[in-house]
């Protein structure tokens, strides 16, 4: 699939949370590549491991989380092998993150500008104060904020403005990759749409790579070149955006799409998926989706399906994929 070396390559990532009841296998053997300048969307229900992956990519894990195996290559270096100091330099410089701003991603006691300067000081230490302020002014203009606002405090911003400020902060050190974790979930639909589109434009202009994380496949589809559908800590399907929409191969992807209303597409009845995602303390054997899958057979209960390329870079982990009609 990959012609050039991908900027990000995740191989067989396994991550567990240790709890009193036992290990929760939050991410189990996930692999994907992200090419330079492209965007990848990760979708799935809450608890499917998409945020755990995002935090693993920056090694921003809580104390009880442990990466048990796999590798994460960013531009050729395995970040799981980095020392603590190297990791501090790596963060924000190579991978930055756009947080959900409504959830207090900004410290209330410092001005927005000061919080961006903090990152610039850390990674681009040789900037003078005037240069830093100029840089922040440019960033603010890029995300559609008045540069004069940089000396304001976060509480003086509206939700949408705060989101833009958080995006400006993520852009500040010219990272190779930006992870947007539920970037617009708390905003109203109109602001959400506008910000996503602007983010997409900035990404294309600066030639960065993006990872979008959302539970809303419609939001993801609009901005991502490739889409990965996650279920219970595993990647169920990974393909180009159009492909996955037109020919979903995994029954879960199919069900997920039928559960969201489509504005542009034809009318269809919304179908909810019966059952709940499994308890990851005791994940079901075989395919983790089999208890809810209408196509499940005996083999699904016993053996884990391989995550295989079914042609044209369309990966799926299913014993009985939906009828694919490529061509």
């Amino acid at each position: 699939m990959a012609e050039a070396t991908p900027i990000l390559s995740v191989q067989d990532l396994v991550m567990h949370y240790t709890t009193r009841k036992g290990d929760v296998s939050a991410v189990d053997g996930v692999s994907f590549d992200l090419e330079n300048g492209k965007s990848l969307g990760l979708v799935g229900e809450s608890g499917c491991g998409k945020t755990s992956i995002a935090f693993s990519l920056m090694k921003l894990l809580p104390d009880n989380a442990k990466i048990k195996g796999g590798s994460i290559y960013v531009g050729g270096t395995d970040i799981l092998q980095l020392s603590h100091d190297e990791l501090l330099k790596f963060r924000w410089q190579r991978i930055a993150m756009v947080f959900q701003a409504a959830m207090n991603a900004l410290n209330p006691v410092y001005t927005v500008g000061d919080q961006i300067i903090e990152a610039l000081d850390l990674h681009w230490g040789d900037l003078s104060r005037e240069q830093s302020r100029e840089r922040i002014g440019q960033l603010f203009e890029m995300v559609g904020l008045d540069p004069k606002l940089m000396d304001r405090y976060p509480h003086e911003f509206s939700g949408g403005m705060r989101q833009r400020a958080v995006i400006a902060m993520a852009l500040s050190c010219n990272p190779d990759i930006i992870i947007a974790d539920e970037p617009t979930t708390a905003l109203d639909v109109i602001v959400q749409d506008r910000i996503l589109r602007e983010l997409k434009k900035i990404q294309e202009k600066l030639g960065m790579s993006m990872i979008y994380i959302s539970h809303d496949i419609a939001v993801i589809a609009e901005v991502s070149d490739r889409i990965g559908v996650m279920y219970a800590g595993r990647m169920a399907e990974l393909a180009d955006g159009v492909d996955i929409f037109e020919h979903p191969l995994h029954p879960y992807t199919y069900a997920l799409m039928r559960a969201f209303p489509s504005i542009k597409g034809e009318k269809h009845e919304l179908v909810t998926l019966p059952g709940e995602p499994p308890d990851l303390l005791f994940p079901p054997p075989g395919c983790r989706f089999h208890p809810r899958c209408p196509r499940a057979t005996d083999v699904c209960k016993q053996e884990q399906p391989p995550f295989a390329d079914n042609g044209r870079g369309h990966f799926v982990a299913c014993w009985h994929p939906m009828e694919a009609n490529h061509e």
Partner: protein, 393 residues
Amino acid sequence: MLHYLLRRAVSGLIALFLFLTLMFFVSESVAPTDFTTQFSLLMTEEQRAALARDLGIDRPLWQRYFDWFGSLVRGDLGFSYYGFPVAEHLWGLIPYTLLVFLIGTMIAFQIGRWMGKVAAWRGPGLVNTLSSISAIMLYTAFPPFLAFLVSRVMERRLDLKRPALGGRAVGNVFFGELWRSPRWEPETVMSWVLLTVVGYSVLIMVLNELLARRVRRRMPTLVQAAALIALVSGTWYATGLWPYALEVLKVASIPIVTFVLLSFGETMLIMRTSMSDTLREDFITTAEAKGLPSRAIRDRHAARTALLPVFSRLVVSLPYLLTGLVILEDTLKWPGLSASLFNALYQQDIPVVMGGLVLVGVLSAITRLLLDVMYAYLDPRIRYDSGKLRRAG
């Protein structure tokens, strides 16, 4: 911000007025009957009436209240029933109370803040448990008992000679060669000690803020402490205050240590809770993602933000600390404001009691206002709110 402070000042004045009015009527009505009855066995009915007339306590209560309040506004606290002017009497006591109160509060706040920060940062574990247990034990200790323990331990260590005072009498606490023919009276020395310590602390604080604005760096706490000690002792040395100041601090260390032990626990416990809450905030994750080293995350992001509830709590508990100190002074025979309050109460010397209460009230009002200024400085959201109000009004 000015609007906010003005509002706080006005509400402080109103509270002070209500407090003093209430205390006037309470102390007048709680006294068994009145001053003259103390001498009922020695005096005839006529003599007592004459004394009451002399002291002006034969007039109706409301009239006395207005008289008292009128002279208070003019800054006159009147005369004790024993003849001496109240203001002058209290003026000699203030340095004792202020010395212990201000220095003790500063130390207790810094210790509590630091311990709370470290305990929360370390998370559950031995350090956390031990510091919490000791903070809770000291915070809830019976103050006279703690005072007794501290003075037992420290008097011997510091080789302090204490007069054998019985009962509730409070007298001089400064003895020895130095005070035979001193260049300065102990009260004067205390005032200077206070002025230098508090003044230089404020100076260092302001410098630190200016530094942070200019070069975005702050002095480490240790450097600040060293600078404070150097400045203070340098000034003492230069003015010849050194031996006297040391003696004063040595004697005052018992009440200060007791006060610190009793009051740091509150700060520590609130700081710990506030800090652990702050550490779960999203902006901490942002700070980590930015690649900040953990020290910067702990101090610049978590501790700075966690300080706000601690501060607002301190504003509320200041009057309790002050009144608690007055009780402590009585136990330790430290001749501060308690001398005016307790002794005068036993002697039914109402003007002195009221004078003491005025001082306690004014002191808490002023320190509260100062803390309000600092709080408004620390929390930008307060500055903003006042701006909104000003626009609306």
